[in-house]
Symmetry: C2
Subunit: 131 residues, 2 copies
């Protein structure tokens, strides 16, 4: 993967932000340093960087995807109302009203465990490509 100015700055800014920005939020930030950059470049680079495992693409909550420059293992809280994503810093606790609260002030009422992989059909397709 070629190191371009755009790619470097997109990665740098995403790593700096702790807000799990959407593509257009990141675009606004990057534009301050590269005023002529295109939103298409931001999308293309986020895709490439995510394929390369250098960033994470977050697909939950709302219509827009969000991105995370922190690839160390950690959990997220998603606001079901506005789609905001935060890192979970402490283990959630049950409070007096039986709601679960974490250090960020979120009221948590659900948790999801989800696995990611390749289904049998796509495994076959992958094998055909290799052979």
């Amino acid at each position: 993967m070629r190191i371009t100015n755009q790619r470097e700055i997109i990665l740098e800014e995403l790593r700096r932000l702790k807000s799990h920005p959407t593509a257009d939020e990141l675009y606004e930030v990057v534009k301050k340093r590269l005023p002529r950059i295109s939103i298409a470049t931001v999308y293309r680079n986020l895709e490439r960087l995510s394929e390369a495992g250098m960033i994470h693409k977050l697909e939950y909550g709302g219509r827009q995807k969000r991105f995370d420059g922190d690839v160390t293992p950690h959990c997220h809280v998603v606001c079901v109302k506005c789609g905001r994503v935060s890192d979970v810093e402490t283990v959630p606790e049950v409070d007096a009203e039986h709601l679960v609260v974490d250090s960020r002030g979120y009221k948590i009422f659900d948790g999801v465990i989800q696995f990611e992989g390749l289904c049998p059909k796509c495994q076959l397709l992958e094998e055909k490509k290799i052979n």
Copy 2:
């Protein structure tokens, strides 16, 4: 919530399908019983039913949302290639190549734990609405 023919059949078909269909996949199935139904009706009802907690909206993997008529607690495997979603039936196991395999034949290479709730800002907005 008013019980219409459309709503009833959409719920019935979604509960019958174990494939976690997208809105348009479900539309194709429902159309066999209600040939004049509109895709907009499918979308509107899936939204209403999901708000009412009668079905689940799945927002991971790919561009299209998927829906699940089974609201009992269970985990999902998502294919990162094609977006297919399956229920996890057994606890994933590590095989000889250090990949994780489950009963559905998926090769699992990642797991995500995610919490859902309300962020502090949206909690304030909710309180204002009530008062």
